[in-house]
Amino acid sequence: MSEMTLVQAVNRGLFEAMKQDPDVLVLGEDVGVDGGVFRATDGLIKEYGAERVIDTPLSETGIIGTAVGMALYGLKPVAEIQFLDFIYPAFDQIVSELAKFRFRSGGQYPCHVVIRAPYGGGIKGGVYHSQSTEAYFCHTAGLKVAIPSTPADAKGLLLTAIHDEDPVMFFEPKRIYRTATGEVPDGDYRVPFGQARTVREGEHLSIFAYGAMIPPASEAAAALAKDGISAEVIDLRTLVPLDEAAAVASVEKTGRAVVVHEAARFCGFGAELSAILAEKAFYSLKAPILRVTGYDTPFPYALENVYLPNAARIEAAARAVMQEG
């Protein structure tokens, strides 16, 4: 075990995967000599060389299309998109090609690429360095979507992603890259997909969140506890596959649910989770499910703290669901 930040844990995970398997390689913009703009790939090129740590020309469709071709041939590429906001030139490659190769070829061409991308706001990144658009990818069959919130999960989920057999979108909460610190197991540490983590047990309501929304959700739960309201905080960890059983079980216990994400509300992941809870835990619910999310506007620069959900907004939603029933 070693104490480290979330971004250091990503880096440790990449080192571990490249050590384990010579077929693993890293490619993207500025990932080699520079070590990545957030330093997630720092030092890899020194250890593993420019053959396996590839600085690419500036083209997201080129990065992902190339990674797809490498994967078809049998390598295990881990592609970095510098910011999730810049992924759209590669959207065609991701949803039309990567997600569909195994299916459209009748299983002849599995295509296992891991795409890492820092996502989310709170770093004064304005319109184009702040977005959380995980829902686009959750909506496409064939892609798995993982979002860690702790250093241990960052390493453990990343190693699971790299050893998986399916395409994985791995979104890293850059706002807490350096503020989230914790103990991370050494060596080949893996966290399975599809298993939510109970951050805090509670009796009166369930707060569902992931990534950079875990700290404000926990802060809200601590504030509620002072008033005798016992909130359960569930970190979903992977949106695809989703741990539906854990979500349903928590609501069956508490009878109330608040769903939190920083992505925009309309057709966001919270809509899906709310629908699942309504379908599968309806008779346990004592109050309508509430969502605390980003607004249905582009991500703002000056007003990012207005846009982003925080502990106060989560706490207010929790108190609102406690008013009912």
Partner: protein, 353 residues
């Protein structure tokens, strides 16, 4: 290339020229090429007819492209990978994908290697490294670059070939792929079968360049334009670029000028946009007739040979169709296979047909 008005453009070679250009096996190579071209043409004619009868859902003929496809199939090695577009199924057949398997795909049966997941003419044949095709234009270009990169990392001797049409040279992945390949110096051959039409759009309005091949110079290497209806020139071009690629030359772009001799697909009506003399011009460049005429003239093909090739093609296509039409469709439960390596969720009740 000059356009003759309907009269066939003969291949301008003596047998000595041909031996010089494509090697000592030229006679057998060209006879073999002729047989494959006849098979391709026979299949196209038969399947377009069946599409009109409603027995297959769609068809994208490659009539006019046969020389490029057959030469690619004959010139590549087993370890080479093919990243095709719509009109290259014949490449897979020449490289060893069995015709009956391909016809099962055309009928989207339970024995279709891709399980009936795609429209006809979108095969996947991994045993000959013929990669599953997308209907999205140009996306396979960067895949070929990635595979070539992987070959180099693994120190394999293969070459990746990306096939695409004139329209694809306007798409994102053409630029990204040609650029990445140039920077990294990869063993990849970009094969543009310029049939002069992207559905209704003539190539003159697709790009302002004089030749599509010259686009390679923007990425640091040279491209060549070759008459894609002259099988000798096409074989010679493939042999050269594949040899150079294996020797570490870096990427190549070849533009093969061909004539689309059919509608874009079974869903298209080219009388809305093609000039009235297009078909006559195209027939002057018919790659099959050009080769057949030349082989007959030099005495490398007689009437009995010709009848034999035609009969074998006709019978193998007929038998494959009969087998496919007797095969059931994929099972409803198969819908949930291959989305992921293992299903994440399957509905409790599988829908019934």
């Amino acid at each position: 290339m000059t356009d003759a008005s309907g009269s066939l453009l003969p291949l301008p070679y003596t047998p000595t020229d041909v031996y010089h250009r494509i090697g000592p096996e030229a006679r057998e190579t060209l006879r073999s090429a002729y047989g494959w071209m006849i098979l391709g043409r026979t299949l196209d004619a038969r399947m377009q007819g069946l599409q009109r009868q409603g027995r297959v859902g769609f068809y994208g003929a490659a009539t006019g492209h046969e020389a490029v496809n057959v030469a690619a199939g004959l010139s590549t090695r087993k370890e080479d990978w093919i990243f095709p577009g719509l009109r290259e199924p014949l490449v897979a057949l020449v490289r060893g994908h069995p015709l009956p398997r391909y016809v099962q795909h055309l009928f989207a049966t339970a024995h279709d290697p891709s399980k009936g997941r795609q429209m006809p003419c979108h095969p996947s044949a991994s045993e000959v490294h013929h990669v599953s095709i997308s209907s999205v234009i140009g996306t396979q270009i960067t895949h070929a670059v990635g595979a070539a990169w992987a070959m180099r990392l693994r120190k394999a001797s293969g070459v990746a070939l990306a096939f695409f049409g004139d329209g694809a040279t306007s798409a994102n992945d053409f630029h990204a792929g040609l650029n990445f390949a140039g920077v990294a110096g990869l063993p990849v051959v970009f094969v543009c079968a310029n049939n002069q039409w992207a559905i209704s759009m003539p190539v003159e309005r697709q790009s302002a360049v004089a030749t599509l091949a010259q686009k390679a110079s923007a990425y640091g290497y040279s491209g060549v334009t070759v008459d894609g209806t002259d099988i000798v020139a096409v074989l010679e071009a493939f042999q050269r670029v594949l040899r150079e690629s294996r020797e570490g030359s870096g990427p190549h772009l070849i533009e093969f000028r061909v004539y689309r001799m059919t509608p874009h697909s079974s869903s298209d009506d080219p009388t809305r946009y093609q000039p009235v003399d297009w078909n006559a011009r195209a027939r002057a460049h018919d790659p099959v007739v050009r080769l057949e005429t030349w082989l007959s003239t030099v005495g490398w093909l007689d009437d009995a040979d010709r009848a034999g090739y035609a009969q074998r093609a006709s019978e193998s296509v007929r038998d494959a169709i009969a087998e496919a039409e007797a095969t059931p469709p994929p099972s409803p439960a198969s819908l949930f296979e291959d989305v992921f390596s293992r299903p994440l969720s399957v509905p409790v009740e599988i829908p019934r047909i």
